[in-house]
């Protein structure tokens, strides 16, 4: 039988299908405004693409901020539980999971048995999430794909407001006006987000191993900033943006 996990995030819908513990399919699409319709379309196209009959599916577990939109789900779990389940299944030595997506960043502290001890989420602030990077990328006229690698070329330390996306954006504009190189600004932005995330992570307390998941784990510049800010190596799984969907899929195992 097949178990399905659907992560309805603020920006993307991610679906993972698992059979006998193995991932057999992954799919991703933009969430848009019609999350239910877009989820259904992605789900149906994955069934068709992989030749899976609806009757072969035993559970469909949703997670993410839009998780309640799906009416064909058999179960629903929060992002904290899904991230923990997925991350600790892949890397059982993880004691801290940092999950940074488009809308929200979260840090989760876990005991050796995989039980959640504490968690923290970024409050009313975009500066701890991927949408902030996108916004700054627009100000710099950089794509998301080029933002991370470009920032790695910088060796400058430019302090930036890590607490507020609005103030940070005006700082980016000021830096541009003062002819600061884009790579240095990109690094400053990644450092600022990392600082915000580390502050949140210190709130829950952390010990190694630390695992980073979520779409922001694909931003190499941010990963570098986070490693320096934590003074620690990070475990980054393959397909980090799918880990919560994977955790949802295997939740019932």
């Amino acid at each position: 039988m097949i178990n399905v996990g659907i992560d309805l995030g603020a920006k993307n819908i991610k679906i993972v299908m698992v059979s006998n513990g193995e991932v057999i399919a992954r799919g991703i699409t933009l969430s848009g405004f019609e999350t239910k319709e877009n989820s259904t379309a992605l789900f149906d196209s994955m069934l068709q693409e992989h030749g899976i009959a609806r009757g072969d599916i035993s559970t469909i577990t949703t997670t993410g901020s839009g998780r309640k939109a799906i009416d064909f789900a058999t179960n629903s779990i929060t992002e904290v539980t899904a991230a923990t389940k997925g991350a600790t299944t892949l890397f059982p030595t993880s004691r801290c999971v940092i999950d940074v997506g488009a809308e929200e960043g979260r840090s989760i502290r876990i005991d050796p048995n995989g039980k959640i001890i504490d968690f923290a989420l970024n409050e009313k602030c975009a500066a701890g999430a991927g949408a902030f990077i996108e916004s700054m990328g627009r100000a710099l006229e950089l794509t998301v794909e080029t933002f991370g690698p470009l920032s790695l070329e910088s060796d400058k330390e430019i302090p930036m407001n890590a607490q507020c996306a609005v103030f940070a954006e005006s700082e980016v504009v000021s830096l541009l006006h003062s002819k600061t190189e884009k790579k240095d600004i990109a690094k400053a932005v990644n450092d600022a987000v990392a600082s915000r995330i580390v502050s949140m992570t210190r709130k829950v307390g952390f010990e190694k191993d630390i695992q980073l998941i979520g779409g922001m784990a694909k931003n190499l510049g941010f990963v570098d900033s986070l490693k320096r800010a934590l003074d620690s190596e990070l475990i980054i799984p393959d397909f980090p943006e799918f880990i919560s969907a994977y955790g949802a899929a295997i939740y019932n195992d």
Partner: protein
């Protein structure tokens, strides 16, 4: 996990509590019709003292009045915006801004124009208390105002000279009241009010003690509607009598296994004032079988407690229970000062560690499974050191969920995000919505 189901029923004395509250605001509004006087001040003020001016002296206390407005979102927003238009900053105490807004708009929550007080009677324990009434006085055209400084440190460091400092201000205050109102002062009425206050606030602590029972006979959302009577008129015979009646009813509920909620499988406490416009948060928790059995705030803002010989917390023994007969003004004032200085909610203005110790004691005695901490941007005083409390609770082994909000300014509370956070917290405690 099996889901326990309990008998539950409405409080028999519920309507009486509502009547007392409604009468309080009407009596204040109509005070002048029969030649009585109105005074305004905080819920923390020494309200027993103006009682010596006669039985026709009616107060309005600013915090519960503003909390009532916060529940009325339309009026609340108009009050807040009226205050902002006058140039007052948005990060000030939300109760204070709301109260000022009601004055500026000249609208009373219970209908008609805002009834001007004849005098202000306040004390100063938090950063806003005295300024609150100084500005209120100015907005109302110069109402005579008296404020007592009570910042003498936590109760465990109180000395006779510190009591002297407060009692001297009280004595001066009585002379000021006589001069301001032109009335004589009756010490017997003062003594009666002090005895009532000790009786009411000790009885409230006793009521809270009954919530140690499993299942809890009261949930915190209900307690908010009950403790508030003490914030209105803790020195009145009406409130003292009501709390004794309520105590007997709550005792009966415990003896008969009457639960506040149908399913209690998880016991929580909260902290500080809740976002008053969003009390459905507590009903949402009930969907998980989680009940908030109280908080340091609901227990200790009105309840007066003491450490018992076995180290546990219990209602403070009243002077009458000790066989002490209050006979003079000086004796009444000394007891009143000492009694209030021992109030739990006064302690943590001096150190978050004192608050952490009390919260941990509550968690232990009330057998709590988790804590919801409201990082309340609307009240600097009660939020002071709350992040320290969080660390201490976690260190003591209690799961904590923190959420940001504001007790009186709904613009600073994100209900959807808070509910989502509750979902996550409940899952970490092994709870799912019962009907899911």
């Amino acid at each position: 996990m099996s889901i326990p189901t309990y008998k539950t029923e409405a409080l028999k004395s519920w309507n009486k509590a509502k009547e007392i509250r409604n009468d309080f605001y009407k009596r204040y509004q109509n005070a002048h019709e029969n030649g009585g006087l109105r005074w305004a001040g905080g819920a923390w003020s020494f309200g027993a003292i103006p009682c010596g001016l006669g039985r026709d002296i009616f107060p309005i206390t600013g915090e519960p009045y503003a909390a009532g407005i916060a529940f009325n979102k339309e009026f609340s927003l108009r009050c807040l915006e009226a205050t902002e238009r006058k140039g007052y900053a948005r990060d000030l105490c939300a109760y204070m801004r709301t109260y000022w807004g009601s004055i500026i708009l000249d609208e009373y929550l219970y209908g008609g124009k805002f009834p001007k007080p004849d005098f202000m009677w306040q004390d100063h324990v938090c950063c806003s208390h005295s300024k609150w009434y100084q500005v209120a006085s100015e907005l109302e055209g110069g109402i005579p105002t008296y404020s007592i400084d009570v910042a003498v440190g936590p109760y465990n460091s109180v000395t006779e000279s510190k009591i002297d400092y407060i009692v001297a201000q009280m004595q001066d205050g009585i002379e000021w009241l006589k001069k301001t109102t032109g009335r004589e002062y009756n010490d017997d009425l003062l003594i009666e009010a002090v005895n009532n206050e000790c009786r009411a606030t000790s009885a409230w602590a006793e009521i809270c003690m009954y919530n140690m029972a499993k299942p809890a006979p009261l949930d915190e959302k209900t307690m908010y509607s009950l403790y508030v009577l003490g914030t209105l008129e803790k020195h009145s015979k009406i409130v003292a009598d009501y709390y004794e009646e309520l105590r007997d009813e709550v005792k009966w509920r415990v003896e008969n296994g009457i639960s506040a909620t149908k399913h209690e499988r998880c016991r929580l406490i909260s902290d500080t004032q809740p976002p008053w416009g969003f009390l459905d948060v507590f009903r949402y928790l009930e969907g998980f079988g989680a009940v908030s059995v109280g908080s340091l705030y609901t227990f200790g803002l009105i309840g007066v407690w003491e450490d018992k010989p076995d180290g546990t917390w219990g209602p403070r023994t009243t002077p009458a229970q000790k066989g002490i007969k209050i006979e003079t003004r000086e004796q009444a004032l000394r007891i009143l000062a000492d009694w209030n200085l021992s109030k739990p909610e006064w302690q943590h203005f001096y150190s978050p560690h004192l608050k952490s110790d009390m919260m941990i004691k509550i968690c232990q005695q009330w057998q709590v499974d988790g804590v919801l901490l409201h990082y309340n941007r609307g009240c600097e005083g009660l939020s002071l050191g709350i992040a320290e409390n969080r660390l201490a609770l976690i260190e003591a082994g209690y799961p904590v969920m923190a959420f940001e909000g504001n007790m009186g300014d709904e613009r600073e509370f994100d209900a959807t995000k808070t509910m989502s956070r509750i979902d996550s917290f409940m899952e970490t405690l092994g709870m799912k919505l019962i009907n899911q």
